[in-house]
Amino acid sequence: MNSIAQYFTDLFKGLSTLWAGMRVTGKYFFSPGAIVTQQYPENRKTLKMEERFKGEIIMPHDENNLHACTGCGICEINCPNGSIEILTDRVANAEGKLERVIDKHIYHLSMCTFCGLCVKTCPSDALAFGQEFEHAVFDRSKLTKVLNQPGSKIRKEAK
């Protein structure tokens, strides 16, 4: 007799636990407001990445097409993956002295792991993270970018 009672209590307990689970999914079925999906390509206009979002490395230029990179190469040394290459020139400045200026700051996005060491260690704060995240391209070579804009110059600090 006892075992029969046990049989039925087990049965009803089991059924009630099943019902508890069904209540959860059922509740969400009738509350479409709980949908969390973001409709990505549609919300592109309103999509705002966090300000610290690590999308890619950029070199901010001001309105006069000036940047802060001195071409010291610390970012290149610090990069664990070799995704930064710096080509420098020596150009005579106004006083006739040879000065190192940056020719090309080459950034291989395809190799970058976004560890942030280049941005952190840059002594002149020339690098920053950009919010761009749509990096898909059809040609791998397009992932190699030159960060300094053509014709840009180093910003001389006002003394």
Binding site: G21, V24, P80, F114, C115, G116, F129
Partner: protein
């Protein structure tokens, strides 16, 4: 159970053995793990894990990188406890150089550790439910995990592999919203955890699937070095946060969750309870973050004094130990990671043979394996 027989079978093998390759591409091996399973009907006779499909040589790569650069590689071992891995390497450098880390850093690191642990356990919950065929758990878990990842993204700029810790402190300070959003998350997640229990924990089918399955005795756990929630499910007290507190763990009150049953359900219960426990740890710390600097003064080029250094931390999956041999250069002479999943995987033959193939999936799910952590 019947281990000698199994070993004999593994070596000899029989003509009529029904061998199945579970993986490297299989929905339930969560990555590229390959289990060579020998079946007798539906019952697993023995199994033989094959690893190395995602071996990247992280330990060897570390020998060519400076200590700051190594951090970003540790992200990619156990990607679900990336922050905790980072912290292990940072702490070993701090130990070696005898740098005193600011209190603020310790607090923030501990909070992030626990957030990371919750996120990891949430993902485990999703995947474990899915292994057992409850597909809806996957989306509920990911839905809640998104809140943590949003907090991470706001502060570090990345969601999964955030190389946020650096030797001496943090890369930069946390976002001003950090405290507010973390508190919001705690409140939110407290309302969602009972749902997890209703949907899966209490479910009679789930309980039948997990209770008494994959029994691992305390001796087995110690013998194989199974740590973390998997080991604690067998009553093996192995929480590094308790044994050797680091960060701000000595300032908070929390329980080490221990279950003695040693089956799949015990491991499940440990992880579910750890989520509650982590929430309470964060609650104790979040309002008391001291003001201060976010990093200690460090030299730009870190050279560890020649010698051997060892440090261990508790990741979401168990004990991660880092061992460094330095010859005084800026790169380590030898770097060794003792990753938790490596040990946790190899106990599988012991605990899964004799059960059904469906149980094998449940057991591998309950061990919460992250394959890149095994292969490194």
């Amino acid at each position: 159970m019947m281990s000698e027989e199994i070993i004999k079978d593994v070596i000899v093998g029989e003509q009529e053995d029904y061998l199945i390759n579970l993986g490297p591409q299989h929905p339930s091996t969560h990555g590229v793990l390959r289990l060579e399973v020998c079946l007798k009907g539906e019952t697993v006779k023995y199994l033989n894990p094959h690893i190395g499909y995602i071996h990247r040589g992280i330990e060897k790569m570390c020998e060519a990188l400076t200590y700051q650069q190594i951090i970003h590689l540790t992200d990619r071992m156990d990607y679900l406890s990336a922050h905790i891995n980072n912290e292990a390497v940072s702490m070993i450098v701090e130990d070696a150089l005898q740098v005193e880390v600011p209190e603020r850093v310790k607090y923030i690191r501990t909070i992030l550790d626990e957030l990371n642990r919750i996120a990891s356990h949430q993902l485990w919950w999703c995947a474990f439910g899915m292994d057992l065929g409850a597909l809806t758990t996957f989306f509920y878990g990911l839905r809640d995990r998104e809140h943590i990842l949003d907090i991470f993204e706001e502060s570090f700029g990345s969601r999964l592999l955030h190389s946020f810790v650096c030797p001496g402190g943090l890369m930069h300070d946390v976002h001003p919203n950090f405290q507010k959003r973390t508190k919001e998350f705690i409140k939110y997640f407290r309302t969602k955890l009972p749902e997890y229990d209703q949907l899966l924990t209490g479910n009679i089918i789930f309980q039948n699937r997990s209770k008494g399955i994959g029994y691992m005795s305390r001796e087995t756990a110690i013998g194989y070095g199974v740590t973390g929630p998997s080991g604690r499910g067998s009553g093996f007290s192995c929480d590094v946060r308790k044994i050797a507190p680091y960060g701000a763990y000595d300032k908070v009150r929390f329980n080490e969750i221990l279950e003695t049953e040693g089956d799949v359900f015990a491991r499940y219960k440990v992880r579910m309870a750890e989520m509650h426990e982590s929430l309470s740890i964060i609650e104790q710390l979040i309002d008391n973050i001291p003001e201060g600097d976010f990093t200690a003064k460090m030299k730009p080029i870190i050279k560890l004094p020649a010698g051997e250094y060892f440090r261990r931390v508790e990741t979401a999956r168990g004990e991660l130990a880092v061992y460094v041999v330095s010859d005084g250069n800026k790169t380590p002479y030898r770097m060794k990671f003792r990753t938790p999943n490596f040990s946790n995987l190899f106990v599988m033959n012991e605990i899964a043979s004799g059960y059904k193939i469906a149980d094998l999936i449940a057991i591998s799910g309950s061990l919460d394996l992250v394959i890149p952590d095994i292969d490194r």
